[in-house]
Protein backbone atom coordinates (compact mmCIF):
# COMPACT_ATOMS: atom_id res chain seq x y z
CA UNK A 1 0.00 0.00 0.00
CA UNK A 2 1.34 3.40 -0.96
CA UNK A 3 1.54 5.73 2.01
CA UNK A 4 3.41 8.70 0.60
CA UNK A 5 2.97 9.68 -3.00
CA UNK A 6 4.91 12.53 -4.57
CA UNK A 7 3.95 13.49 -8.09
CA UNK A 8 5.99 15.90 -10.20
CA UNK A 9 6.77 18.27 -7.34
CA UNK A 10 8.58 21.52 -8.09
CA UNK A 11 9.97 24.04 -5.67
CA UNK A 12 12.01 27.18 -6.25
CA UNK A 13 13.44 29.80 -3.91
CA UNK A 14 13.26 32.91 -6.06
CA UNK A 15 15.22 32.08 -9.19
CA UNK A 16 16.86 29.04 -7.68
CA UNK A 17 15.05 25.90 -8.79
CA UNK A 18 15.66 23.40 -6.03
CA UNK A 19 13.18 20.62 -6.85
CA UNK A 20 12.63 20.03 -10.56
CA UNK A 21 9.91 17.43 -10.75
CA UNK A 22 10.19 14.86 -8.00
CA UNK A 23 8.31 11.58 -8.32
CA UNK A 24 8.43 9.23 -5.42
CA UNK A 25 6.16 6.74 -3.85
CA UNK A 26 6.78 5.16 -0.49
CA UNK A 27 4.91 2.11 0.72
CA UNK A 28 3.60 1.61 4.22
CA UNK A 29 6.42 0.24 6.37
CA UNK A 30 9.11 1.05 3.84
CA UNK A 31 12.43 2.62 4.83
CA UNK A 32 13.74 5.02 2.22
CA UNK A 33 17.16 6.64 2.50
CA UNK A 34 17.78 9.80 0.50
CA UNK A 35 21.39 10.50 -0.37
CA UNK A 36 23.03 13.12 -2.52
CA UNK A 37 25.44 16.00 -2.58
CA UNK A 38 25.00 19.13 -0.53
CA UNK A 39 22.47 21.44 -2.18
CA UNK A 40 20.81 18.70 -4.23
CA UNK A 41 17.45 19.43 -2.55
CA UNK A 42 17.18 16.59 -0.01
CA UNK A 43 16.12 18.76 2.92
CA UNK A 44 13.77 20.77 0.75
CA UNK A 45 12.02 17.60 -0.35
CA UNK A 46 11.60 16.42 3.24
CA UNK A 47 10.38 19.85 4.30
CA UNK A 48 7.78 19.83 1.52
CA UNK A 49 6.54 16.51 2.87
CA UNK A 50 5.43 18.20 6.07
CA UNK A 51 4.83 21.60 4.51
CA UNK A 52 7.53 23.48 6.34
CA UNK A 53 8.04 24.53 2.73
CA UNK A 54 5.08 24.80 0.39
CA UNK A 55 5.77 23.20 -2.96
CA UNK A 56 5.09 25.35 -6.01
CA UNK A 57 3.47 22.70 -8.17
CA UNK A 58 2.80 18.99 -8.30
CA UNK A 59 1.00 16.90 -5.74
CA UNK A 60 1.86 15.21 -2.50
CA UNK A 61 -0.56 12.78 -0.91
CA UNK A 62 -0.21 11.01 2.40
CA UNK A 63 -2.56 8.14 3.15
CA UNK A 64 -4.55 9.15 0.05
CA UNK A 65 -5.11 12.68 1.29
CA UNK A 66 -3.74 15.71 -0.47
CA UNK A 67 -1.20 17.62 1.45
CA UNK A 68 -2.10 21.27 1.23
CA UNK A 69 -3.63 23.77 3.58
CA UNK A 70 -7.06 23.41 1.98
CA UNK A 71 -7.40 19.68 2.38
CA UNK A 72 -5.29 18.95 5.45
CA UNK A 73 -5.15 20.98 8.66
CA UNK A 74 -1.83 21.42 10.49
CA UNK A 75 -3.19 19.16 13.20
CA UNK A 76 -4.08 16.41 10.76
CA UNK A 77 -0.75 16.81 9.02
CA UNK A 78 1.10 16.41 12.31
CA UNK A 79 -0.81 13.20 12.97
CA UNK A 80 0.35 11.84 9.64
CA UNK A 81 3.91 13.09 9.44
CA UNK A 82 6.49 13.38 12.21
CA UNK A 83 9.84 15.05 11.76
CA UNK A 84 13.21 14.84 13.46
CA UNK A 85 15.75 17.55 12.76
CA UNK A 86 19.51 17.65 12.58
CA UNK A 87 19.71 20.09 15.48
CA UNK A 88 17.21 18.30 17.80
CA UNK A 89 15.20 21.49 18.40
CA UNK A 90 13.98 20.43 21.81
CA UNK A 91 12.18 23.07 23.86
CA UNK A 92 14.87 24.05 26.37
CA UNK A 93 12.49 25.25 29.11
CA UNK A 94 10.52 22.03 29.18
CA UNK A 95 11.55 18.75 30.73
CA UNK A 96 11.94 15.65 28.60
CA UNK A 97 8.46 14.53 29.66
CA UNK A 98 6.95 17.94 28.89
CA UNK A 99 8.64 18.06 25.48
CA UNK A 100 7.04 14.75 24.60
CA UNK A 101 3.62 15.55 26.08
CA UNK A 102 3.21 19.08 24.72
CA UNK A 103 1.83 18.43 21.24
CA UNK A 104 -0.53 15.59 22.22
CA UNK A 105 -1.90 17.88 24.94
CA UNK A 106 -2.25 21.17 23.08
CA UNK A 107 -2.66 19.98 19.49
CA UNK A 108 -4.70 16.83 19.98
CA UNK A 109 -6.28 17.85 23.28
CA UNK A 110 -5.82 14.44 24.82
CA UNK A 111 -6.23 13.53 28.48
CA UNK A 112 -3.19 14.34 30.58
CA UNK A 113 -2.97 10.92 32.21
CA UNK A 114 -3.24 9.18 28.85
CA UNK A 115 -0.61 11.44 27.29
CA UNK A 116 1.83 10.84 30.13
CA UNK A 117 1.39 7.13 29.71
CA UNK A 118 2.18 7.39 26.02
CA UNK A 119 5.15 9.62 26.80
CA UNK A 120 6.59 7.00 29.12
CA UNK A 121 6.08 4.35 26.48
CA UNK A 122 7.85 6.26 23.72
CA UNK A 123 10.67 7.28 26.05
CA UNK A 124 11.04 3.64 27.03
CA UNK A 125 11.28 2.83 23.34
CA UNK A 126 14.19 5.23 22.86
CA UNK A 127 15.81 4.01 26.07
CA UNK A 128 15.32 7.16 28.13
CA UNK A 129 12.58 6.35 30.62
CA UNK A 130 14.84 7.50 33.45
CA UNK A 131 15.17 11.02 31.99
CA UNK A 132 11.52 11.99 32.19
CA UNK A 133 12.14 14.93 34.52
CA UNK A 134 15.48 16.10 33.11
CA UNK A 135 15.93 19.27 31.08
CA UNK A 136 17.41 19.03 27.57
CA UNK A 137 20.53 20.92 28.65
CA UNK A 138 21.29 18.11 31.09
CA UNK A 139 21.41 15.51 28.32
CA UNK A 140 24.04 14.50 25.80
CA UNK A 141 23.42 15.21 22.13
CA UNK A 142 22.54 11.59 21.45
CA UNK A 143 20.06 11.58 24.30
CA UNK A 144 18.53 14.84 23.10
CA UNK A 145 18.06 13.44 19.63
CA UNK A 146 16.40 10.34 21.06
CA UNK A 147 14.02 12.58 23.00
CA UNK A 148 13.24 14.39 19.75
CA UNK A 149 12.41 11.03 18.17
CA UNK A 150 10.18 10.16 21.12
CA UNK A 151 8.49 13.55 20.87
CA UNK A 152 7.65 12.92 17.22
CA UNK A 153 6.47 9.39 17.98
CA UNK A 154 4.07 10.61 20.66
CA UNK A 155 1.85 12.06 17.91
CA UNK A 156 1.65 8.53 16.43
CA UNK A 157 2.54 9.64 12.91
CA UNK A 158 2.21 7.30 9.96
CA UNK A 159 5.55 8.34 8.54
CA UNK A 160 8.66 9.79 10.13
CA UNK A 161 10.99 12.17 8.33
CA UNK A 162 14.57 12.35 9.54
CA UNK A 163 16.90 15.01 8.17
CA UNK A 164 20.52 14.10 8.90
CA UNK A 165 19.62 13.31 12.46
CA UNK A 166 23.13 12.18 13.38
CA UNK A 167 25.14 14.91 11.65
CA UNK A 168 25.31 17.18 14.69
CA UNK A 169 26.46 14.38 16.99
CA UNK A 170 29.88 13.40 18.21
CA UNK A 171 30.89 10.18 16.43
CA UNK A 172 30.57 8.07 19.56
CA UNK A 173 26.91 9.14 19.98
CA UNK A 174 25.79 8.34 16.43
CA UNK A 175 25.29 4.64 17.09
CA UNK A 176 22.70 5.03 19.85
CA UNK A 177 20.48 7.16 17.61
CA UNK A 178 20.84 4.89 14.60
CA UNK A 179 19.93 1.87 16.74
CA UNK A 180 16.68 3.59 17.75
CA UNK A 181 15.85 4.24 14.10
CA UNK A 182 16.69 0.67 13.24
CA UNK A 183 14.33 -0.58 15.93
CA UNK A 184 11.58 1.68 14.59
CA UNK A 185 12.13 0.33 11.11
CA UNK A 186 11.96 -3.22 12.42
CA UNK A 187 8.63 -2.40 14.07
CA UNK A 188 7.21 -1.42 10.71
CA UNK A 189 7.39 2.37 10.96
CA UNK A 190 7.59 4.09 7.60
CA UNK A 191 10.79 6.13 7.50
CA UNK A 192 12.13 8.60 5.01
CA UNK A 193 15.60 9.66 6.01
CA UNK A 194 18.21 11.92 4.57
CA UNK A 195 21.52 10.54 5.66
CA UNK A 196 25.24 10.66 5.15
CA UNK A 197 25.64 7.36 7.00
CA UNK A 198 26.10 5.13 3.97
CA UNK A 199 26.52 1.96 5.97
CA UNK A 200 23.26 2.68 7.76
CA UNK A 201 21.51 3.30 4.43
CA UNK A 202 22.90 0.04 3.15
CA UNK A 203 21.93 -2.02 6.19
CA UNK A 204 18.56 -0.58 7.12
CA UNK A 205 16.97 1.02 4.07
CA UNK A 206 14.69 -0.94 1.75
CA UNK A 207 15.40 1.56 -0.97
CA UNK A 208 17.99 4.25 -1.56
CA UNK A 209 17.18 7.37 -3.52
CA UNK A 210 20.01 9.40 -4.99
CA UNK A 211 19.16 13.04 -5.59
CA UNK A 212 21.13 15.19 -7.97
CA UNK A 213 20.40 18.79 -8.93
CA UNK A 214 16.79 18.75 -7.81
CA UNK A 215 15.85 15.44 -9.38
CA UNK A 216 15.82 11.82 -8.37
CA UNK A 217 18.74 10.68 -10.42
CA UNK A 218 18.82 7.02 -9.54
CA UNK A 219 17.07 4.76 -7.06
CA UNK A 220 16.97 1.14 -6.10
CA UNK A 221 17.68 -1.46 -3.50
CA UNK A 222 20.80 -0.54 -1.52
CA UNK A 223 22.68 -3.67 -2.49
CA UNK A 224 22.34 -2.93 -6.21
CA UNK A 225 22.66 0.81 -5.99
CA UNK A 226 25.90 0.81 -4.03
CA UNK A 227 27.55 -2.11 -5.81
CA UNK A 228 26.39 -1.29 -9.29
CA UNK A 229 25.66 2.43 -9.77
CA UNK A 230 24.37 3.20 -13.25
CA UNK A 231 25.07 6.90 -13.62
CA UNK A 232 28.44 8.62 -13.51
CA UNK A 233 27.08 11.10 -10.94
CA UNK A 234 26.20 8.35 -8.50
CA UNK A 235 29.49 6.56 -9.15
CA UNK A 236 31.33 9.73 -8.35
CA UNK A 237 29.22 10.39 -5.25
CA UNK A 238 29.76 6.89 -3.92
CA UNK A 239 33.49 6.95 -4.47
CA UNK A 240 33.64 10.32 -2.70
CA UNK A 241 31.77 9.24 0.41
CA UNK A 242 32.87 5.64 0.85
Amino acid sequence: MTLVYVDNVHKAFGDLKVLKGINLSVAQGEVVAIIGRSGSGKSTLLRCLNQLEKHDSGQITIADKQLDAASMSPKELSENVGMVFQSFNLFPHKTVGENVCLAPLVVRGEEKAEVEKVAREVLEKVGLSDKYGAYPAQLSGGQQQRVAIARALAMRPKVMLCDEVTSALDPELVGEVLRVLEALAAEGMTLILVTHEMSFARDVADRVVFMHQGRIHEEGAPSELFSNPQTPELKQFISAVL
Binding site: L52, H93, V107, A148, A152
Partner: protein, 225 residues
Protein backbone atom coordinates in the same frame (compact mmCIF):
# COMPACT_ATOMS: atom_id res chain seq x y z
CA UNK B 1 23.15 76.30 64.63
CA UNK B 2 20.97 74.64 62.02
CA UNK B 3 17.79 72.77 62.82
CA UNK B 4 18.21 69.29 64.32
CA UNK B 5 16.77 66.13 62.88
CA UNK B 6 13.68 64.96 64.67
CA UNK B 7 11.91 61.95 63.26
CA UNK B 8 9.51 61.94 66.19
CA UNK B 9 7.75 64.82 64.44
CA UNK B 10 6.49 62.23 61.91
CA UNK B 11 4.84 60.11 64.56
CA UNK B 12 1.40 61.75 64.36
CA UNK B 13 1.35 60.99 60.61
CA UNK B 14 1.97 57.26 60.69
CA UNK B 15 -1.46 56.47 59.30
CA UNK B 16 -0.92 58.82 56.32
CA UNK B 17 2.45 57.26 55.64
CA UNK B 18 0.94 53.79 55.79
CA UNK B 19 -1.88 54.77 53.48
CA UNK B 20 0.56 56.25 50.96
CA UNK B 21 2.84 53.25 51.20
CA UNK B 22 -0.04 50.83 50.65
CA UNK B 23 -1.26 52.75 47.61
CA UNK B 24 2.20 52.79 46.04
CA UNK B 25 2.65 49.07 46.65
CA UNK B 26 -0.76 48.14 45.25
CA UNK B 27 -0.29 50.42 42.23
CA UNK B 28 3.08 48.82 41.59
CA UNK B 29 2.06 45.20 42.03
CA UNK B 30 -1.06 45.54 39.89
CA UNK B 31 0.51 47.57 37.09
CA UNK B 32 3.56 45.34 36.94
CA UNK B 33 1.27 42.37 36.31
CA UNK B 34 -1.09 44.15 33.91
CA UNK B 35 1.74 46.01 32.18
CA UNK B 36 3.82 42.91 31.51
CA UNK B 37 0.76 40.93 30.38
CA UNK B 38 -0.22 43.68 27.99
CA UNK B 39 3.37 43.80 26.78
CA UNK B 40 3.19 40.12 25.81
CA UNK B 41 0.04 40.76 23.77
CA UNK B 42 1.52 43.85 22.12
CA UNK B 43 4.77 42.09 21.28
CA UNK B 44 2.85 39.18 19.75
CA UNK B 45 0.45 41.35 17.75
CA UNK B 46 3.19 43.64 16.48
CA UNK B 47 4.59 40.67 14.62
CA UNK B 48 1.53 38.60 13.79
CA UNK B 49 -1.52 40.84 13.45
CA UNK B 50 -3.09 42.59 10.47
CA UNK B 51 -1.01 45.48 9.11
CA UNK B 52 -3.32 48.16 10.50
CA UNK B 53 -3.14 46.63 13.99
CA UNK B 54 0.65 46.45 13.78
CA UNK B 55 0.78 50.02 12.61
CA UNK B 56 -1.53 51.22 15.40
CA UNK B 57 0.45 49.40 18.07
CA UNK B 58 3.71 50.73 16.65
CA UNK B 59 2.26 54.24 17.03
CA UNK B 60 1.25 53.56 20.64
CA UNK B 61 4.70 52.21 21.52
CA UNK B 62 6.55 55.10 19.90
CA UNK B 63 4.33 57.83 21.37
CA UNK B 64 4.64 56.31 24.82
CA UNK B 65 8.38 55.92 24.64
CA UNK B 66 8.96 59.43 23.38
CA UNK B 67 6.80 61.54 25.68
CA UNK B 68 7.07 62.29 29.41
CA UNK B 69 5.17 59.98 31.72
CA UNK B 70 3.62 62.91 33.55
CA UNK B 71 2.16 64.23 30.29
CA UNK B 72 0.66 60.80 29.56
CA UNK B 73 -0.85 60.78 33.03
CA UNK B 74 -2.27 64.30 32.62
CA UNK B 75 -3.62 63.42 29.23
CA UNK B 76 -5.53 60.46 30.62
CA UNK B 77 -6.78 62.27 33.73
CA UNK B 78 -7.37 65.82 32.47
CA UNK B 79 -7.49 65.31 28.71
CA UNK B 80 -9.85 62.37 28.24
CA UNK B 81 -12.77 64.03 30.04
CA UNK B 82 -12.77 66.46 27.10
CA UNK B 83 -13.86 63.46 25.00
CA UNK B 84 -16.50 62.63 27.59
CA UNK B 85 -14.41 59.90 29.20
CA UNK B 86 -14.25 60.61 32.92
CA UNK B 87 -12.11 58.48 35.18
CA UNK B 88 -11.06 58.93 38.78
CA UNK B 89 -7.47 59.67 39.73
CA UNK B 90 -6.49 56.22 40.91
CA UNK B 91 -7.89 54.55 37.78
CA UNK B 92 -6.04 57.07 35.63
CA UNK B 93 -2.86 56.18 37.52
CA UNK B 94 -3.40 52.45 36.92
CA UNK B 95 -4.03 53.00 33.23
CA UNK B 96 -1.11 55.36 32.68
CA UNK B 97 1.38 53.12 34.48
CA UNK B 98 0.13 49.99 32.73
CA UNK B 99 0.34 51.58 29.28
CA UNK B 100 3.78 53.00 30.04
CA UNK B 101 5.28 49.75 31.30
CA UNK B 102 3.64 47.78 28.48
CA UNK B 103 5.10 49.97 25.74
CA UNK B 104 8.68 49.72 26.98
CA UNK B 105 8.39 46.04 27.89
CA UNK B 106 6.86 45.12 24.54
CA UNK B 107 9.96 46.48 22.83
CA UNK B 108 12.23 44.63 25.24
CA UNK B 109 10.28 41.40 24.76
CA UNK B 110 10.35 41.73 21.01
CA UNK B 111 14.11 41.42 21.12
CA UNK B 112 13.80 38.29 23.25
CA UNK B 113 11.21 36.78 20.94
CA UNK B 114 13.11 37.43 17.73
CA UNK B 115 16.13 35.66 19.23
CA UNK B 116 14.12 32.42 19.47
CA UNK B 117 15.78 29.71 17.46
CA UNK B 118 14.03 29.22 14.14
CA UNK B 119 14.41 25.49 14.61
CA UNK B 120 12.26 25.48 17.73
CA UNK B 121 9.45 27.25 15.89
CA UNK B 122 9.74 24.72 13.09
CA UNK B 123 9.63 21.88 15.59
CA UNK B 124 6.44 23.41 16.96
CA UNK B 125 4.95 23.66 13.48
CA UNK B 126 6.00 20.12 12.62
CA UNK B 127 4.13 19.01 15.74
CA UNK B 128 0.98 20.74 14.49
CA UNK B 129 1.01 23.79 16.73
CA UNK B 130 -0.57 27.03 15.56
CA UNK B 131 1.40 30.27 15.73
CA UNK B 132 -0.39 31.24 18.92
CA UNK B 133 0.26 27.85 20.52
CA UNK B 134 3.94 28.09 19.56
CA UNK B 135 4.22 31.52 21.14
CA UNK B 136 2.56 30.39 24.29
CA UNK B 137 4.35 27.08 24.77
CA UNK B 138 7.61 27.40 22.86
CA UNK B 139 8.60 31.05 22.58
CA UNK B 140 7.37 32.90 25.63
CA UNK B 141 9.36 31.48 28.53
CA UNK B 142 12.76 31.47 26.81
CA UNK B 143 12.06 34.98 25.47
CA UNK B 144 11.27 36.20 28.99
CA UNK B 145 14.37 34.49 30.31
CA UNK B 146 16.56 36.22 27.73
CA UNK B 147 15.39 39.75 28.57
CA UNK B 148 14.44 39.26 32.21
CA UNK B 149 17.04 41.65 33.69
CA UNK B 150 15.85 44.45 31.38
CA UNK B 151 12.23 43.78 32.32
CA UNK B 152 13.08 43.94 36.03
CA UNK B 153 14.77 47.32 35.58
CA UNK B 154 11.89 48.66 33.52
CA UNK B 155 9.33 47.59 36.12
CA UNK B 156 11.36 49.30 38.83
CA UNK B 157 11.60 52.46 36.75
CA UNK B 158 7.81 52.52 36.48
CA UNK B 159 7.45 51.95 40.24
CA UNK B 160 9.75 54.91 40.94
CA UNK B 161 7.96 56.98 38.30
CA UNK B 162 4.69 56.31 40.08
CA UNK B 163 5.65 59.19 42.41
CA UNK B 164 4.18 61.62 39.89
CA UNK B 165 0.67 60.25 40.34
CA UNK B 166 0.64 62.41 43.46
CA UNK B 167 0.25 65.27 40.97
CA UNK B 168 -3.30 64.15 40.20
CA UNK B 169 -3.89 63.75 43.96
CA UNK B 170 -3.59 60.00 44.19
CA UNK B 171 -2.71 59.39 47.84
CA UNK B 172 0.53 57.53 47.25
CA UNK B 173 3.76 57.64 49.23
CA UNK B 174 4.91 60.90 47.68
CA UNK B 175 1.50 62.48 48.18
CA UNK B 176 1.68 61.49 51.84
CA UNK B 177 5.10 63.13 52.16
CA UNK B 178 3.92 66.35 50.50
CA UNK B 179 0.90 66.35 52.76
CA UNK B 180 2.93 65.82 55.93
CA UNK B 181 5.56 68.43 55.21
CA UNK B 182 2.86 71.00 54.47
CA UNK B 183 1.57 70.39 57.99
CA UNK B 184 4.70 70.02 60.11
CA UNK B 185 7.24 71.76 57.85
CA UNK B 186 9.70 68.89 58.45
CA UNK B 187 10.57 68.35 54.78
CA UNK B 188 14.01 66.96 55.43
CA UNK B 189 12.83 64.19 57.72
CA UNK B 190 9.82 63.18 55.68
CA UNK B 191 11.59 63.17 52.30
CA UNK B 192 14.56 61.33 53.75
CA UNK B 193 12.17 58.74 55.10
CA UNK B 194 10.32 58.17 51.82
CA UNK B 195 13.61 58.13 49.92
CA UNK B 196 14.61 55.17 52.05
CA UNK B 197 11.21 53.55 51.54
CA UNK B 198 11.47 53.86 47.73
CA UNK B 199 14.98 52.44 47.91
CA UNK B 200 13.74 49.46 49.92
CA UNK B 201 10.80 48.99 47.55
CA UNK B 202 13.20 48.87 44.60
CA UNK B 203 15.43 46.33 46.35
CA UNK B 204 12.40 44.30 47.38
CA UNK B 205 11.05 44.28 43.83
CA UNK B 206 14.35 43.14 42.40
CA UNK B 207 14.56 40.35 44.95
CA UNK B 208 10.99 39.19 44.32
CA UNK B 209 11.60 39.17 40.57
CA UNK B 210 14.77 37.15 41.12
CA UNK B 211 12.94 34.60 43.25
CA UNK B 212 10.21 34.20 40.65
CA UNK B 213 12.82 33.97 37.91
CA UNK B 214 14.75 31.31 39.74
CA UNK B 215 11.65 29.12 39.79
CA UNK B 216 10.32 29.84 36.32
CA UNK B 217 13.70 29.72 34.59
CA UNK B 218 14.97 26.75 36.59
CA UNK B 219 15.78 24.99 33.32
CA UNK B 220 18.73 27.33 32.78
CA UNK B 221 20.61 25.96 35.75
CA UNK B 222 21.36 22.84 33.73
CA UNK B 223 22.94 24.94 30.98
CA UNK B 224 25.43 26.50 33.31
CA UNK B 225 27.14 23.25 34.14
Amino acid sequence: MGPTLDFLTLLPYVSELLKGFTTTVILTVVTTLTGLSLAVAVAYLRVNAQPWVRWGLGGYVEVTRNTPFIVQLFFIFFGLPGLGIKIDAITAAFIAMTLNLAAYSAEILRAGISATAKGQLEAGRALGMTTLQSYRHVVLVPAFARVYPALISQSIIVMLGSAVVSQISVFDLTYAANFIQSRNFRSFEVYLLITLVYLLLAFGMRRSFMLVGKRVFAYQQGEQR
